[in-house]
Symmetry: C2
Subunit: 438 residues, 2 copies
């Protein structure tokens, strides 16, 4: 059987990795796939730079549309990123009856519904393992490996940059700005790191995971997104003393009690003994809890040239395997059959349920704790632990740390307003969410 | 499209779990698979006990052959274990043109070649996700998710009973026999725990993983197998002091330098900071290193009713998806196309390369360390660390702990014979293998 022809749009970090892996492991991949995968053309604006990477064996083109419109090409791999040109190219490729592989989480989180519908109508596949957690086959795991389960929740470290920054802040006791500058110098953070540090990248990925876990459309606009820019070294230290670590997690949870789904990205306290709390540096990990399997975890490199290429090429092999199969028998894009997606709503943040970590800078005088705990009690929020640092000699202020049990966020917000209004609460209260993940 | 009919042979712990999961998550599974899965018949010798589990909705039969020979059944699920009757049933089902799902690692590790050949000849699938690491989709991950990679090595905690025992030994400082008795009382270890504690169960699973990672036939008889029965509390303690934990690992490694594959199960020192070193209790985890993806880890419950059922049902859905597809385009049983399997030999243990932990009880006198290190140097074994416990007052003996760098095992065995012969070495030397797994 003749090999499938692949056209590669975008020959940057990941694109080069795809070329390397396909070339180096050609024999190994063919032994597995049973059919060859040929790189028919690659696209990069600068042809000279493209040549320097792929040599003379592969045709290079400057115009990505040349790949999309090439009738000899069976599969288009989109690796240019962004949501404008990438969307046009992907939709054009689909319209031309080509299968698509993409690593573009922003594109799918925002335009996924349109793209998957177009693909279903054309009977082609859009594969996107590389869009979430790089080389970790988490899409395949949730869509296929855990298919017997009613997924209860998932939570992941799905942005390497922020995990690197948080690891460094904890290890070295440094504050956010210092570590960010260092991360930029080392190339772990981009010159404009906004999408990473504000949690947007993680939210794109969490949106995709949420859809395939719960059978709902991708709804990035409904995700609650907080980054790590406000995080202070003091809270990392206090969390540690209480047996927790702070990680930026993308979390999605089924809430049968209210018929909704939580979808949120924010810094989260996690018990230090959990494996995911021990995922350091730029590594990624996703925890998935299903009703049959219980809690499982998947760990690996979430970015980088060849780890991401590993996922892109796995998608290519899947397409090679399923290209000749009946479209109705392929794995559905969002894990559930298109006509079986549910309209279960993504809950507003006020309805989310979590435990909380609170840090209050309070006047060191009698009755302060009583007043604060009374406010929490009035809002039906129960306390799990309190840590009060002894004031230094002569100091008239002290840090009061409170861990609560699970509560509805709206209730906590009301309580926070009241606590903040107390004259004995001297600075803005720090509140962070806490998850047990067991 | 009419549902596929499943016949379930064996309605014990896992079989009951499969019934529960299929029943409870019927709607969820159908939303994903796009086609129903119907339980057409279940087999258990005692019909009354079977009825108590499945009620009146599912036909129960006492003779497993009735399921294998039932023309209305499309897929046979074999969950009785063992390698005699199970082999007959599986081969008969295949001969009758039925797909097979099995959780039977012993059967596949020993008779896999025969079974997979029969299945290929008949154009049916034999799926076995549940045979290794219970609910963790490790077979799918290695066969499909990491398909772009040349796998370099894998190492797994793939026996929950022994990991539970080792966790307890470390936590409580108890010796093996005490913890085993406790594990038996709690139901974590069977009345006859031989297969678990001698490493045989882990070796069955490692054999299967080795085959799908490296594209070689299953060769259980070539696996080197050591259990944990000889492990002493003292070594767990010393390992801890040196920054290591001891885990029973199934390891398989590609050795391009000698054109072979290592396949071995033994207690192993692993750096305490690795995630896998922190997998506690009866949990399982597998680390896989591929040339593109780097090091990845997969964690979850390795046994139990519903976690194992999660894997069995995932296999059923895969079969539902691929049943109508061209057999040439299914995922090959052993990850590689049958005609692309390699005859790369499994290496004898003498040719395995690892680092070592040695504990020697020596006379506390001048020159002992010099003599021992000289023997190691003569065998070209270099030393990574030495820990010498100070003798208690008046004691004339001391424990000498040596960590070596990587060496060929045959060389270490020769060195051990010479060291053991020294009059100053007072008791049998303890030697354990050490892996960095990074």
């Amino acid at each position: 059987m003749k090999p499938l022809n692949v056209g590669l749009i975008g020959l940057g970090t990941v694109g080069s990795g795809v070329f390397q892996v396909l070339t180096r492991n050609q024999a190994e991949i063919r032994r597995r796939a049973g059919r060859g995968i040929a790189l028919a053309a690659v696209n990069r604006r600068n042809l000279e730079q493209a040549r320097a990477i792929v040599g003379d064996q592969v045709p290079v083109v400057a115009d990505p549309m040349a790949i999309v419109n090439d009738p000899s090409i069976d599969i288009v791999v989109e690796l240019i990123g962004g949501t404008t040109l990438a969307r046009e190219l992907v939709l054009a490729a689909i319209a031309n009856g080509k299968h698509v592989v993409t690593a573009n989480k922003a594109l799918l989180a925002v335009h996924g519904t349109e793209i998957f519908a177009a693909a279903s109508a054309q009977g082609v596949m859009v594969a996107f393992e590389a869009a979430v957690a790089g080389g970790i086959p988490i899409i395949k795991t949730v869509r296929e490996g855990l298919t017997a389960n009613r997924i209860a929740w998932l939570a992941g470290i799905i942005n390497g940059t922020t995990n690197f920054i948080l690891s460094e802040m904890r290890d070295k006791g440094l504050d956010f700005a210092t570590v960010l500058a260092e991360a930029q110098r080392l190339g772990y953070a981009e010159a404009d790191p906004t999408f990473d540090i504000e949690g947007v990248d993680a939210a794109h990925k969490a949106t995709i995971l949420s859809a395939i876990a719960f059978g709902v459309p991708v709804q990035f606009d409904k995700a609650h997104v907080e980054g790590i820019t406000q995080l202070q070294a003091a809270d990392i230290r206090y969390a540690e003393q209480l047996g927790y670590r702070i990680k930026l997690l993308g979390i999605s949870k089924r809430r049968d009690d209210v018929g909704g789904i939580e979808l949120r990205v924010h810094p989260t306290l996690v018990p230090a003994k959990r494996l995911i709390a021990n995922v350091e540096g730029a590594m990624n990990a996703v925890v998935v809890n299903g009703d049959a399997v219980g809690t499982t975890l998947y760990y690996g490199k979430g970015a980088g040239s060849e780890p991401t290429a590993s996922a892109v090429v796995a998608d290519l092999v899947d397409i090679v395997r399923l290209a000749t199969a009946d479209p109705d028998h392929r794995v559905p894009h969002l894990a559930f059959q298109p006509d079986a997606l549910s309209d279960t709503p993504i809950l507003p943040i006020d309805q989310v349920v979590t435990a909380f970590y609170l840090r209050l800078r309070v006047a060191d005088q009698t009755g302060v704790l009583a007043r604060i705990t009374a406010i929490l009690a009035e809002h039906d929020i129960s306390i799990d632990a309190v840590l009060q640092r002894e004031s230094a000699d002569g100091e008239k202020q002290t840090d009061l740390i409170i861990l609560t049990h699970d509560t509805v966020e709206g209730r906590m917000r009301q309580a926070l307003v009241q606590m903040q209004a107390l004259p004995t609460v001297l600075t803005p209260i720090v509140s962070l969410r806490k998850e047990e993940l067991n």
